[in-house]
Structure formats: structure tokens, C-alpha cells
């Protein structure tokens, strides 16, 4: 790796690592430190292949590693070391005075991991259906149906809440 490669990698980190970390937190519903772990893991892969991929959309590559890592983590095939609460454990899971945002985030965390990933990529990352499908390795049709089902659940929750407060 040349010095110029190293400098370009630092630039890439400065520009993209916060966005990757935020995506990881949203997709896996995990704590910040778990998400940092996943992002670091992904970036290590990027770093290893950096001279080859630096001119070939390294951001998309890193995002794919992060998102897929987050999905498989959420499926809990690995031994759990620690339950990851995005909120401190002493905060009640659902207290009535939670704001709309908190309720929506809580609802998002209840979705199956893949469905949540679709919502995050489509509405947080603003990826197109085709880009989302390519990243997740599924068809555009699957992205459409997963997004529709996920949104329907979030919408139902939102209307429910607004119905109560109105």
C-alpha cells in the first residue's frame, strides 16, 4: 500500500465512517459499541483490499459488508454475549409519554432484520429500489414487498398513536 493509498483511505474514513456507523446502528438496532465493532470489521476488509477497490466505489462495498453483518447479527445465530439495549435498561420499554420518534424507532426495532434493513436503506440512505436489491442480494420485487409491509406496520403504529393523542 503506497502512502497515497493510505492518505486516500484516511480521507474515505473521514468522509464515510460516521454514516456507516449510523446505518449499522439503525439496521441492527444495537448499541453504539456493537455497531462500532461491525463497522470496524467491515473497514478492516475494505482496508485489506483498498489498493484494488479504492477507485471502484469503496463506499458501496463497505455498506454491503456492514448491512449484511448487521442482518446476520440480528438473527442471533451467534452466541449472545450481552443483550444490547439501545436505551438504558432502566428506561421503560414503552412509557405513554414517549414521543412519536421514539415509538417509531421502537417499532422499527421490532421488525425482522431484513425488513428493517430495507426501510433503513430506502428511507434513511435514500437508495433506490434497484440499489437496495443489489446491496441485499435480492430481487426488486422483494424490496418492494418488504418495504410495503414494513411501512404498513410503522404506519399502523403511527395512526394508532395519533388516534390516541387526538
Amino acid at each position: 500500500m503506497t502512502e497515497e493509498d493510505e492518505a486516500a483511505f484516511d480521507e474515505f474514513l473521514a468522509a464515510r465512517s460516521t454514516a456507516l456507523l449510523r446505518t449499522a446502528i439503525l439496521v441492527c438496532g444495537a448499541s453504539e459499541s456493537d455497531a462500532e465493532d461491525m463497522v470496524q470489521n467491515a473497514l478492516e476488509k475494505v482496508y485489506r483490499h483498498w489498493p484494488r477497490i479504492r477507485h471502484d466505489n469503496p463506499e458501496a462495498y463497505a455498506r454491503r459488508v456492514v448491512v449484511n453483518g448487521a442482518i446476520s447479527k440480528a438473527r442471533r445465530r451467534k452466541v449472545l454475549q450481552e443483550i444490547t439495549f439501545a436505551h438504558p435498561p432502566e428506561t421503560p420499554v414503552e412509557s405513554p409519554d414517549l414521543g412519536l420518534r421514539d415509538v417509531l424507532v421502537a417499532e422499527l426495532r421490532k421488525l425482522p432484520a431484513r425488513m428493517r434493513a430495507v426501510l433503513v436503506l430506502r428511507y434513511w440512505e435514500d437508495l433506490s429500489e434497484a440499489e437496495t436489491a443489489a446491496l441485499l442480494g435480492c430481487s426488486v420485487g422483494t424490496v418492494k414487498s418488504q418495504a410495503a409491509r414494513g411501512l404498513a406496520r410503522v404506519r399502523a403504529r403511527m395512526e394508532n398513536l395519533q388516534g390516541v393523542s387526538a
Partner: protein
């Protein structure tokens, strides 16, 4: 506001305060070294997951944590003769905001426990059965040595142990927080004072156990089908005692509030639910999990990995979970 916008807004608010650490580049480049450790530990057939985690735990330097952190660096340099990083070795000449995790590998577990507590870290313990390090010494740690971590951050030490029978721990006399109180590595069937009388056929003990990862006084271990990759499980159990029980009780209450039907295990209420990574109940996907209270102040949770559940079938998975729960007894 339509639902897409509301969701986007909520997601933005959720992560607005999150920023990647400026030392991420360093950590990524250091990662090459960690692969060596990971490989070595994987060879001992243990949790890769435990060793792979080498992230700086939290890099926000709070002013109130500086003294405790600083004293840790001092202790590392003075008493142990092996300070974390060469830059920190000069002790008081270097102001280390939030402290730095020292290199603990090879040290006596008891000693390390005391050093970490003194420095204000939360100590979590994982034990693995291995002959690659003397029993009772620290075999691995996370975060890695040299990682900045403020007081209060969790530091996990992985302690080598032998598979031989360990003397039964006596509940009353144990020194809280000492690694010995796991006392469960004889055959892996007893943890946190609970004996597992029934397990599905063909599963082997994962040869590790963890403490305090799910709250103070929680214990966990796993069993897996032979040949699974290290770090994977078929059945995992967590025992909650004392302070940790309230977490489980809260979760049980929330399952009930969400309409989960209670079942009965040995005359006590249990919930058999699908659970997400964060412990929430989910309707599709998730991990089949049974939670119940064995006795006042003793809770338990058993989960079956989605892979194993798919292999034996959903109905069989639920039956096995109920049988495991029914077979668990307090270890007198």
C-alpha cells in the same frame, strides 16, 4: 407528515448524536494484529465472537473519569511493569483522557480483576476451556490493550480454565466478583446455581461460560451440535440472579402486556416467544426463546438458534425448549 418522512425523521433523530471515533483509522489498521489472536483462540474451539470485539468502547472523555483512568495507567506502568502502549508508559507525563486499557494477557485473573475494579471498569468474565494457557490466567481481553476507555466501561477478560471437575461453589462464602464463583465448568451443566437436567440429544457443551454480560449476577453458556463454527450455538442459556433478575422480570411483563400467552413450567409462569436481538418480542423471524422464574430471585432464559430450530422443525424446537425448562432445577 407521511409515514416515510416520519420514519426518516425518527431515524435521523436516533443517530444524530453518533459520530465515528477519530481513532477508527488506527483501530482498523491495528485490526491486522487481532486476526492472529482470533485465529489462535478459534483453534481452541471457543468463542470467536468474544475475541473479535476490539472496539474502543467509548471515546467520550468525561472530566470526572480522568482521575480513575489516569490511575489505571499508573498502576499498569508501576506495578505490572507492562504499560498499555509505549506512549503511555511514562505515566504522569501523559494526560490520558478517560484512561487506557492495559495489557492483561498472561496475568493472574484475580489480580487483573482487582486492577480493573480499582480503575473503575465494569469487569465481565468469560471462561474458556483450553490448554493453550495456564489455568487461571487471562487468555484474551476486550477491548484490546491500548484502547481508550473511560471509567465505567465494560472490560471483558477471557480466563483459561481446565475441563476437570471444579469444586462446587458454596453460595454463602463466595467472594462476589471473583472468577471462581462461576464454578460451573465441570461439565457445563451447572451455571449460576442452576442445574440443567435435560438437553436435546447430540448437543455438546460449548466449553465456555460468561458472567455479568446480562446484568450483575447473570451467567450464560451454550451447547452446540458438533462441527459448528466456533462462536455459534444451538442452545444458549442465561441464568439471572439478584440484580440481573429485574431485567428479565421487566421483559416478562412486557411480553404479557403484548398479549403473549403464559404457559406453565413446574408450576411457574413461563413465556415461549420469538425474540429480537434487543430482547423484544417479534411476530415473525427472531429467536425462539423461553423465559421463566425458577424461584424467587432466580430467572432463566433458554434460546434455540434459528439454524437449529429450522433443522429440527418449529414444533420440535418449542417442545425441546419446554423440556429444557422443565428439567432445570436449583442446584442445592
Amino acid at each position: 407528515m407521511n409515514v416515510e418522512e416520519a420514519l426518516k425523521d425518527a431515524m435521523a433523530a436516533q443517530v444524530a448524536g453518533v459520530h465515528a471515533s477519530p481513532s477508527l483509522g488506527q483501530a482498523v489498521r491495528r485490526g491486522n494484529r487481532r486476526h492472529i489472536v482470533r485465529f489462535r483462540v478459534a483453534g481452541a474451539a471457543v468463542l470467536t465472537a468474544a475475541v473479535a470485539v476490539g472496539v474502543p468502547v467509548a471515546l467520550t472523555a468525561r472530566p470526572d473519569t480522568v482521575p480513575a483512568g489516569g490511575s489505571l495507567v499508573g498502576a499498569g506502568a508501576g506495578d505490572q511493569g507492562a504499560a498499555a502502549g509505549s506512549t503511555a508508559a511514562s505515566g504522569d507525563a501523559v494526560a490520558t483522557p478517560g484512561g487506557v486499557v492495559p495489557d492483561l494477557t498472561g496475568k493472574n485473573a484475580k489480580e487483573v480483576d482487582a486492577i480493573l475494579k480499582e480503575a473503575g471498569y465494569t469487569v465481565r468474565i468469560t471462561k474458556i476451556v483450553t490448554d493453550q494457557a495456564p489455568a487461571g490466567t487471562v487468555f484474551g481481553q476486550m477491548p484490546q490493550p491500548g484502547t481508550a476507555a473511560p471509567a465505567g466501561a465494560a472490560v471483558t477478560i477471557i480466563i483459561a480454565t481446565t475441563a476437570g471437575p471444579t469444586p462446587a461453589p458454596s453460595e454463602g462464602t463466595e467472594d462476589p466478583g471473583m472468577p471462581q464463583d462461576l464454578g460451573d465448568l465441570g461439565d457445563g451443566r451447572t451455571l449460576g446455581g442452576v442445574h440443567v437436567g435435560y438437553l436435546p440429544e447430540g448437543l455438546e457443551w460449548g466449553k465456555w461460560s460468561g458472567k455479568d454480560g446480562f446484568g450483575k449476577r447473570s451467567y450464560t453458556t451454550s451447547w452446540a451440535e458438533p462441527g459448528l463454527e466456533p462462536g455459534m450455538y444451538s442452545v444458549q442459556m442465561i441464568v439471572y440472579r439478584k440484580g440481573a433478575v429485574s431485567r428479565l422480570t421487566k421483559r416478562m411483563q412486557s411480553y404479557a402486556a403484548q398479549g403473549a400467552t403464559a404457559i406453565e413450567i413446574g408450576g411457574r409462569k413461563a413465556y415461549l416467544v420469538s425474540v429480537s436481538e434487543g430482547g423484544d418480542r417479534v411476530m415473525d423471524g427472531g429467536t425462539r426463546t423461553i423465559v421463566w422464574t425458577l424461584a424467587p430471585g432466580v430467572g432463566a432464559e433458554v434460546m434455540i438458534s434459528p439454524d437449529y430450530a429450522a433443522k429440527i422443525g418449529a414444533d420440535a424446537a418449542d417442545r425441546e425448549l419446554k423440556k429444557i425448562a422443565a428439567g432445570a432445577t436449583l442446584d442445592k
